[in-house]
């Protein structure tokens, strides 16, 4: 019964090696409940695809456990840990590997019962395709809705509905057609782009690897054929460059390389890029590799880039296409899956990791919770483990974001508890900005009392994340605009005042008002001196004239230097993260 030998011997070894190096890699996840026969399906798939070793088969034959009702319990090929074997269920995500002549596969095998939504989300997060098991004797259950919803939520482009246990419904076509119709309707409701339904029996082996003789009415592919041939590349993947800086390689003073995994787009030497958050422009000088420089690279390769000019760039920053920028935002909406036994509470300090960036964050409010069984929206004050909700997120530093539907890599984040260090949530960005059009009372009714008192300067500072300051640029209004952009990108509340022709005392009074509002003010005026700003501490004023001594030289030569100096100055105004974490109200 059990012969295991890949059919590669007939080919020449050379041809095999050559072909193998050309194979691509499909990652898929499987969802189903204890009774759906999911472990049996995977065991059957691995076994029939000759991906199981003989000693593993012998170990299953020798095992005291056989829950299958058949001669051989295929599910034991995949169940791993002691606790699971004792309970007879799969309790975590298990990864399996197999390959066929056409493709290599990674299976993220996840349990499907309710309390383990988080495991399914974990397996789905890296999957290109999801197999959802439907028991033909039972039809679509609430868990089927949940599985399909999580697959669509995690952005899996392909869903394969395996209508299992066809042997128990006498291999009837009408049963399959009815379930197929039901599933397609569910999938279109969820916006799943591509769906394939296949009638199978995992236990008997029908349509898993080889075509079933019991269902001659079915003309479609077997499950394995579909996995081997599906074109899983995302057709509408983001084209623009997103290159989060992961590591700066600096072996000596002559070489400075920025290393990371290209999240989207492609790069070749000479390409123009914008660095975030600084907004500085640059070009690719070389893409450096161990085996020689690369002419062109593309996502998801891990690369090292040298730039043509020296700019400020470190881990957590991002290089992006100038023609298509991500949102630079500290306030956005997202769908969050809660992963931890301690529930999500609004306003609690959290840490957020997105790309290579780790920032302080909080969830000021839950917009609604999603009932994963009915898909209905419910109001919620908190979110329990395995709960899914749409929320608002605020961070103390700007993130460089794309909606998750556009880019999985720059639209996903995890939430960590700063005290326990646990991974407590996973999020997918929806709206990259939140418009601040609601009144403070609407936003946070609990703080009405506080709002009645006079607003203290510290409250403003906490909201903005920085103390106010003034940047005096002489008459360089053009430079003021570039600097405004750079500071805005860096997360500052910044405003530019064109003070040309305004008398110093009038201008000073105006700047002092803006300063009192907590803003970072960039002012272009030839004659205004810091001494005229009597109400403003000198250490919060940046005067480029005092640095360069060339007030009138409106040349580009030192523009970069002035912007860099001004950014450094502004960084000193930023509040320590722990002071910002407790902030109330939303951040513009």
């Amino acid at each position: 019964m059990l012969t295991i030998a890949p059919a590669v011997r007939s080919e020449s070894l050379a041809a095999f090696l050559k072909a193998d190096l050309r194979k691509d890699l499909l990652r898929f996840t499987t969802a189903g409940s204890v009774d759906d026969g999911k472990s049996t399906l995977i065991g059957r798939l691995l076994h029939d695809a000759k991906a199981v070793y003989e000693d593993q088969v012998v170990s299953v034959q020798k095992s005291k456990i056989n829950r299958s009702g058949g001669a051989f319990d295929f599910s034991l090929l995949t169940d791993g840990l002691r606790a699971e074997r004792e309970q007879g269920i799969t309790i975590d995500v298990a990864y399996r590997y197999f390959s066929t002549a056409r493709r290599k596969f990674i299976i993220a095998d996840t349990p499907g019962h309710e309390q383990y939504t988080r495991n399914m989300a974990t397996g789905a997060s890296t999957a290109d395709l999801a197999i959802i098991l439907v028991d033909a004797t039972k039809g679509l259950l609430t868990q089927t809705h949940r599985h399909a919803y999580i697959a669509s939520l995690l952005g899996i482009p392909w869903v394969l509905a395996a209508i299992n246990k066809m042997d128990l419904v006498d291999y009837r076509e009408d049963v399959f057609l009815r379930l197929q119709r039901d599933f397609l309707s569910l999938a279109s409701q969820l916006g799943v782009p591509s769906v394939q339904c296949i009638p199978i029996s995992a236990l008997a082996g029908d349509n898993v690897v080889s075509a079933s003789e019991n269902m001659p009415w079915y003309a479609g592919p077997t499950l394995l054929e579909h996995l081997e041939t599906v074109d899983f590349r995302q057709t509408h993947a983001l084209d623009a460059v997103r290159f989060p800086i992961q590591y700066v390689i600096r072996p000596d003073f002559r070489f400075r390389g920025f290393a990371g995994q290209l999240a989207s787009g492609s790069l070749r030497s000479g390409d123009a890029l914008v660095a975030l958050p600084s907004g500085q422009e640059t070009r690719v000088k070389a893409i450096v590799g161990f085996d020689g420089n690369w002419e062109q690279t593309f996502a998801p390769q891990s690369i090292t880039v040298q730039l043509e000019n020296e700019i400020d760039l470190s881990r957590g920053d991002m290089l992006v296409s100038p023609s298509n920028l991500p949102a630079v935002s500290r306030s956005f909406s997202a769908t969050v899956v809660w992963l931890h036994a301690d529930p999500l509470l609004c306003g609690k300090p959290l840490l957020l990791k997105q790309t290579t960036r780790l920032v302080k964050a909080r969830i000021p409010r839950i917009l609604h919770r999603v009932n994963v069984n009915t898909l209905e929206h419910e109001p919620a004050e908190r979110l329990e483990m395995n709960g899914i909700a749409e929320v608002e997120v605020e961070t103390n530093q700007p993130l460089f974001l794309d909606p998750y539907t556009t880019s999985r890599a720059t639209g996903s984040f995890i939430l960590l508890d700063p005290l326990s260090n646990a991974t407590v949530g996973a999020g997918m960005v929806r709206e990259t900005y939140i418009a601040d059009d609601a009144s403070p009372e609407e936003r946070d009714s609990a703080s009405v009392e506080a709002e009645l008192r006079e607003v203290a300067a510290q409250e403003r500072h906490r909201r903005h994340g920085h103390k106010p300051g003034v940047v005096l640029l002489g008459n360089r209004i053009g430079l003021a605009k570039s600097l405004e952009r750079a500071l805005f990108h860096a997360g500052f509340e910044v405003v530019v005042v064109n003070g040309s022709g305004v008398d110093s005392p009038v201008l000073a009074g105006f700047l002092t008002s803006l300063y009192a509002a907590g803003l970072l003010v960039v002012c272009a005026n030839l004659s205004l001196h810091p001494e005229a700003l009597t109400g403003i501490p000198r250490e919060t004023i940046f005067d480029q004239a005092s640095l360069t001594g060339t007030v009138n030289s409106d040349t580009e030569t030192n523009e970069t230097q002035v912007i860099r100096d001004a950014l450094n100055f502004a960084e000193k105004l930023r509040l320590a993260p722990e002071l910002q974490a407790g902030q109330k109200g939303s951040v513009k």
């Binding site: 890949p6 050379a14 041809a15 090696l17 050559k18 193998d20 190096l21 050309r22 691509d24 890699l25 070793y53 003989e54 000693d55 593993q56 995949t78 791993g80 840990l81 002691r82 309790i91 990864y95 590997y97 390959s99 290599k104 990674i106 495991n119 974990t122 997060s125 890296t126 992961q246 590591y247 390689i249 600096r250 070489f255 390389g257 290393a259 990371g260 995994q261 492609s266 590799g289 085996d291 020689g292 690369w294 002419e295 062109q296 690279t297 998801p300 390769q301 891990s302 881990r315 840490l351 999985r408 890599a409 996903s412 984040f413 995890i414 960590l416 700063p418 260090n421 646990a422 991974t423």
Partner: protein, 385 residues
Amino acid sequence: MTFSGLQPPQQTLPASSNNGSPNERPYNSGSQRIDGAEMGRSIPSLALGTKLRPGHAVTGELSSAGFHNNETLSPEVSEAPPSWGLERRLGHLATLEAESIFILREAAAEFSRPVMLYSIGKDSSVMLRLAQKAFYPGKIPFPLLHIDTSYKFPEMIEFRDSYTREIGAELIVHQNREALEQGANPFVLGTQRCCGLLKTKALLDALAAGGFNAAFGGARRDEEKSRAKERIYSFRDSQGQWDPKNQRPELWNLFNSRIEKSESIRVFPLSNWTELDVWLYIHAENIPIVPLYYARERQAVVRNGSIVLIYSPDELLPGEKVQWIKCRMRSLGCVPCTGAIRSEADTVPKIIEEMISFRRSERENRAIDHDEEGSMELKKREGYF
């Protein structure tokens, strides 16, 4: 080695010395460098350092080539310029390589004291090459740590010392001297307790001594069932222990590196590689490996059904007689507990051929996994790698 279209025009295809026999394979000699960092800048021909032997495949099918692009560089396609656009996608090895390099860089960036567990085996060799690539042209920014039980094959130690010296890596070797002085060995203690003292305890001691809070390991999820659920960042408590029920969820490639002072993370960059992937990569990248992996006539005895290499007459049990057996190691461990297999595979392609026709998983020849059902899981809970 070559990635057609992705490489500058001056890139040439280096010879695949994997086709040579292991005895001729200069893993620690200067000529090997043609495969590594010195190669590929602008050396225009194969004449520098690599001898061409009759039948040696340079441009033929056996040459290692092209896993970075679906279109490999082979004679029939190399003249056509690569086409981009819709055809951009990575082959499976390039996908795995990119993921592993990401993991290595991420942990190196986020932990103050990382270290790489270096076992000298084929997986370690691949992990080491990936680390070289991840930080090129810089050096690997963390030391390598070898836990030496003193029962390792002499060829392993020789390879370890020469190869790490050649690539300029920092190497730390640690032994549980106390246990060794008390005569710890697997015959008396049994493999479970012997491993506990000479590997697990030695490892935990070495990590504590170095203040290491992140340790890279070459373990793969396909090796054994309890490893299938292992995270890429595997959290260990202050005792270095693993709790399979209390692992952090791991979504996308967003890893949680937050730990308290006494805690640590084991990082597994090769989690998603299979044994075949490892061999294909060794082939494609020309990565030097310990010669024990290649079949040749070796002095051995057959003990309890497995082939045990014999280095001195002291190792013989009463009644045993040494014989010459053509064999090789499928995985490398300690001499008493790692059996060889009968084999004719004396090159990497032949090893791959043998492997894909194998009917048994690679750890089967290791005594430690078979002491009791689920024994690997028990060891891992205690802190075994």
